[in-house]
């Protein structure tokens, strides 16, 4: 399979003429827009706290996506503003949100049954590290003096049909967060199916790590940053 940039400016053109679909790394919002566009219409989705929450800004009404929040709601709308703010209506990040038509409320065991029972099509999570086999580490730095807090991360990682990770590919120190084996404590084993980063979109699965597209680098340049073997994904694999 030939790997080459098509030299096209801007983000993803929707046609996999070449694997490099942007001539520069994606910003957080461009990445959120890309994730949003990749979500199949009609899906039930949970967006993790932090960067994944940005995805909701780019979901189109025509996609008919239903958002779940772990604290007991399906049909969550955008963040509440002004007079919409209601202390009894918050998301997992404890931020006031709104309710869309067709919403429903339920208690915590029922809410987690949705997550744990495999009913969510997609969850989007942040990560400290993802391994080549899809292991996820996103809840604990492992530092001996750190106070651990796990929340619903393990339930989402284990329960959703597809787990998408959104993260910068490299730490501030320039170390790849896509690793052979996670050194941070795991959140879930073999659960991640896609990794959206500023530099590339990776697919994880039985065929190893495949690169769907790159942003501002070639596959060869990407391979130089990442300590796991990469192959280019076929268009069908997206």
């Amino acid at each position: 399979m030939s790997i080459q940039s098509n030299g096209q400016a801007g983000i993803h053109a929707g046609i996999h003429a070449g694997i490099q679909t942007s001539d520069k790394p994606l910003g957080r919002d461009d990445l959120a827009r890309l994730v949003a566009r990749d979500i199949t219409s009609g899906s039930f989705v949970n967006l993790g706290i932090g960067q994944p929450t940005l995805v909701s800004n780019y979901l189109e009404p025509e996609q008919n996506i239903t958002l779940h929040t772990e604290n007991g709601m399906l049909g969550m709308g955008p963040e509440a503003t002004g007079g919409q703010i209601d202390g009894d209506l918050i998301n997992a990040g404890k931020i006031p949100v709104t309710e869309l038509p067709g919403a429903s409320y339920f208690h915590h065991a029922d809410s987690f049954a949705i997550m744990r029972g495999g009913h969510l099509d997609i969850c989007v999570l942040g990560a400290f590290q993802v391994s080549a086999t899809g292991d996820l580490a996103n809840w604990h730095t492992g530092a001996p003096d750190a106070i651990p807090a796990v929340g619903g991360a393990m339930d989402l990682a284990t329960g959703a049909k597809d787990v998408f990770v959104m993260m910068t590919l490299l730490t501030r120190e320039g170390v790849s967060k896509l690793v052979e084996t996670c050194t941070y404590p795991l959140t879930g084993v073999g659960c991640v199916t896609r990794i959206y980063t500023d530099k590339a979109v990776f697919l994880t699965g039985p065929d190893g790590v495949q690169v769907r597209e790159t942003f501002g680098c070639t596959l060869e340049e990407l391979q130089a940053m990442v300590p796991v073997p990469l192959t280019a994904a076929s268009a069908a694999g997206t």
Partner: protein, 219 residues
Amino acid sequence: MLNFPETVNEAVAGIRDGSTVMIGGFGNAGQPFELIDALMDCGARDLTVVNNNAGQGDQGLAVLIKEGRVKKMICSFPRQSDSWHFDAKFRAGEIELELVPQGNLAERIRAAGAGIGGFFTPTGYGTMLAEGKETRILDGRGQVFETAIHADVALIKALTADGKGNLVYRKTARNFGPIMAAAAKHTIVQVSRIVPTGDLDPETIVTPGIYVNSIVKVA
């Protein structure tokens, strides 16, 4: 993806031979008679059926059993005054029975929907329905290990659905509907009314649309 077939026959058309089918209802309340009749018409056989009973009289599930479509029943109360079709098949050795205490049946169905592989419960401990099953003492009581019951399809009846597939039920017709909807890969619901999305109060929805695949209105 949620769809709204025009007819019950269209709704059940995808049910294949060998499927495990959960059927809601307790007595006649909540029984999706029209969907069961459609299942009869569609011809699927070698079915494993999960229901509280094993058919009554000459209608619904009893007809499926009579016609030899059901190879196994998982239920709590097969024997009734009018369960003659099941009784005959059972005595003839032509149908398999897994008899489950009703609460274990409900909890095992709920477990499948909730991502619980199995659980320990005191119900049945020390009885012949626990023979051969793993037991242990928990919370100071003997408990029996029971596993989740998954299904390919659930056929249930609700009162009202909205455009998102959210459901509300009516009185004791609710019974197995909500837990079967969650336990099956594909849930087909017959309802009396379909209302515009937003017409159901979000506080009162019993089955969120995430558990529902097909909704068909039955007159």
